[in-house]
Symmetry: C2
Subunit: 168 residues, 2 copies
C-alpha cells in the first residue's frame, strides 16, 4: 500500500462542492480517527459533527475563515475531554494523530478537508456560543466536503533541515 503517496498528495482544501458526502463516507472518516494511538490508550478526543446552517453560521462568526466554515457541507468540532486527560502534552499529540487519521481517510475517499486552528483564539466564545458542556476544551475544527479547487504541491523544509544538530 502506498500510504506515502497518499500522505504527500493531501492538501488543505478550502473550497467545496455543494454535494454532501454520504453517511457511509463520513462514518469511515470518524472511524479512522477512532483508531489513533494515545498515551495509556486514554483516547482523550471528543467530537461532534455540524451540518445545519444555523450552527455553522454561529461557528463561522468566531473566525476570520468564516467562508470556509459556511461553505463546507460538514464541520467536525474536536475537543479535549478534560476528565480523560492525564498529560496535556501527550493528549494534544494524540489528538493530532486522531485528526491526521481523519484527514488521510478523507483524502483517500476523495474528500477534501481543512484543519482550522485560528478559531482557537476564541475558544471560550465558541464554547459559550455552541453551548459546549463543561469539561470539553475546543482544540480544532475540521471542514470537510468534496473539493472544488485544485491545490498545487505543498511546501516543506527538506528532511535534512529537521535534523537536530549534534552539540558542538
Amino acid at each position: 500500500m502506498n500510504v506515502l503517496a497518499l500522505i504527500k498528495s493531501r492538501r488543505s482544501i478550502r473550497k467545496y462542492k455543494k454535494q454532501i458526502p454520504s453517511d457511509r463516507i463520513i462514518h469511515s472518516v470518524l472511524e479512522a480517527g477512532r483508531w489513533a494511538p494515545s498515551g495509556l490508550n486514554n483516547q482523550p478526543w471528543r467530537f461532534f459533527v455540524v451540518k445545519d446552517n444555523a450552527a455553522k453560521n454561529k461557528l463561522a462568526s468566531f473566525t476570520k475563515y468564516s467562508r470556509v466554515i459556511k461553505e463546507a457541507p460538514l464541520i467536525i468540532v474536536i475537543c479535549l475531554n478534560l476528565k480523560d486527560s492525564y498529560h496535556r502534552e501527550k493528549d494534544l499529540m494524540a489528538i493530532g494523530a486522531y485528526i491526521q487519521n481523519m484527514l488521510l481517510q478523507a483524502h483517500a475517499s476523495g474528500l477534501g478537508a481543512c484543519w482550522l486552528g485560528e478559531i482557537l483564539n476564541k475558544k471560550e466564545e465558541v464554547a459559550h456560543g455552541l453551548c459546549l458542556p463543561k469539561g470539553f476544551e475546543l482544540v480544532a475544527v475540521v471542514s470537510l466536503g468534496y473539493p472544488d479547487e485544485f491545490i498545487k504541491a505543498g511546501k516543506r523544509r527538506p528532511l535534512k533541515g529537521s535534523i537536530i544538530p549534534e552539540k558542538s
Copy 2:
C-alpha cells in the same frame, strides 16, 4: 486505497527482530512525517535517529521501558523546536500528526513501531544526557524495527462514546 484498514491494523510493537531496516525504508518513514500539516505550515518538529548502543543505553536509562529502547534497531527522538513554535497547543497537535504519519508508513512498510511517552517524565535529564542543544524540547520517542511479536486487535471506545452530548 484502503488506508482505513492500515490505520486499524497498526499496533504498538515492543519486540523487534535484530534485522536493521534499510536506509531506503527509514528514509520513507521520515519522509512521511515531513508532509504532516501544521499551523501556518511552521513544521515545528525536529528529530534525530539513534542507532548506536551507547546512545540507546543512555536513552534507555531514563524510562521504565528501557528494554524496548535497547532492543529496537532504531529510535527516533522527536523534539519541538521552540524557536519555530507560535502556538504550543497547535504545535503539539502538528507533531502528533507528524508522528502518526511515520507510524502509518512504518506499518505499511512491514515495520513495527512504538510511540513512547513515559520518558517525558525525565525530559530534562534526557536533554542533558543526550546533549540536546538549547531550544529543543523532547516531546516523544519512537522505537522502530521489524516486529517480533503479534499483537491482537487493540481496544477503542465505540464511536458513539466520543460524541459530545448536547447540553440539556
